[in-house]
């Protein structure tokens, strides 16, 4: 199933698609896509009988996003120096990023958990909603908007779900002060 999914994802041109060690990570496939692809990815997984387990965010303020690395076949981990260089470069580029993470799972047959993630500019965190396709996403997206201020474009109602109705703050932002 994982191989099938990988080939089906290919036309959507994901930023990265990585098979992960389920025993350690708890999921099988890590797919990073651009904001424009999240609806298409949701459509694909929905068609394959997956359901959405949760949506959440991560605020990478001033940090290099921690990501799974594709391991080159047969080669040991990259040399420390070059890795550090690459990370420095990435840090400059991505210091102000946020991430939206979708956890998909399915109930029948072979166990397969798929994580879909999307990086957004922290200054303008906007991403299309998938709640027209998967109604269960409605509350998850609202919650993510509550906590991170990420705007889900096309969402019918982004008023606070868990926070007070007049809340104008986003407590899970790393620069949030009480």
């Amino acid at each position: 199933m994982i191989a099938d999914l990988k080939s089906e994802f290919a036309p959507l041109a994901p930023v990265a698609i990585i098979e992960t060690d389920y025993q350690v990570k708890g999921y099988h496939l890590d797919v990073e896509v651009g904001a424009g692809q999240v609806v298409a990815v949701a459509e694909l997984l929905d068609r394959r009988g997956f359901f959405l387990e949760s949506i959440t965010g991560v605020d990478w303020l001033g940090k290099t996003p921690i990501a799974n690395q594709v391991e080159a076949a047969g080669e040991p981990a990259a040399v420390a120096d070059s890795e550090a260089d690459a990370q420095d470069g990435a840090a400059e580029k991505s210091a102000e990023q946020m991430e939206v993470v979708y956890d998909y799972n399915h109930t029948g047959g072979e166990l397969c958990r798929v994580v879909v993630r999307c990086r957004l500019e922290r200054v303008k965190p906007e991403i299309p909603t998938i709640c027209q396709l998967i109604p269960g996403a409605n509350w998850h997206e609202r919650e993510t908007h509550d906590f991170f201020g990420i705007k889900f474009l096309g969402h019918p109602d982004l008023s606070p779900l868990l926070l007070p109705e007049d809340a104008d703050f986003h407590p899970l932002l790393k620069d949030f002060k009480v």
Partner: protein, 372 residues
Amino acid sequence: MSDLARSQNQETFVLNLGPQHPATHGVLRVKLTMDGEYIAEAEPVLGYVHRMHEKMGENRTWAQFMPNTARLDYLGALSYNHGYVKIVEQAMGIEVPERAEYLRVITVELNRIASHLLWFGAFVLDLGGFTPLLYAFDDREHILDLLESVTGARLTFCYFRFGGLYNDIDDDFITGSRAFIKRLRKRMPEYHDLVTKNVILITRLKDIGILPAEMCRKYGATGPVLRGSGVNYDVRKNEPYSVYPELDFDVPVYSECDSMARYMVRMDEMEQSMRIIEQALDKLPAGPIMPEKVPRMLKPEPGDYYSAVEAPRGTFGVRVVSDGTNKAYRLKLRSPTFSNLSLFGEASQGMLLADALALMGSLDLVIPEIDR
């Protein structure tokens, strides 16, 4: 209702259910737009017991967050203990001694029975039957006493440790658990005679509150709600963890999709939990309940991790992002009832108010776990 009746009476009114209402079991509010006795629109309003546990997870060390896990679903707290220790053990590669795994299963399943017993009593109370609640609490009290003797708490357990458990059981616990199972085995037929076969209950539940399997999938419903819609999915079977693969038990599935099916799933699950506990007690190995060496400072490798367990109400998932320090960089708690309740708006449309309350009861809501 006929179209004629609809066209003659366009007036609707708004009815507030809760946040203080006995049928909402806590502080859930539902904004109902009513067309006479029928629900035109139902919108659950959440957040009345929101405490931002996820932020607390970022400010406390891995061990300090442990007591928080019991304050999500206070009726099935041990499953939440389990889900949280499991992800840290998974990320750190901590081996759990076999005896500890067996004791985890025994206590979690006892907790599951206690949770289902309370739901059983409260659910029938919602429908207007008072007596079963007293019976159920009588039984449940025995479990709480047993769990109190080993964990030190009656509801908000903080019993699990990374790698094992806080306390070993004694002989009294074993004889007490066996005696309790014997007792509940005798009580279950009484419950079925008194409640399950009761014609009023059947009329209130049968063919009412239909949740098709496809609707459950679209909303991410799990646990007894999903299994009452004919989908055989249980994390204990589909994604085996702990020592569940070594124990023989069935997953009750009913395909009627109505409130009665969800009722039956939970009643049968209590029987299965008793089977699990009995086998686990028989097989319980001797040995330590903590591994020899657990690092004092827990610092999982940088990266993100996901882990799920089967809580009494469905899939409890934890998503952790670690940056290699002694605190979580991000801790997401995926609670089952949040998704289970999200389908209520669509499912209750056009239902009689009284039937919708029965549907809500059959979802087995615990509000602090939705609001987190």
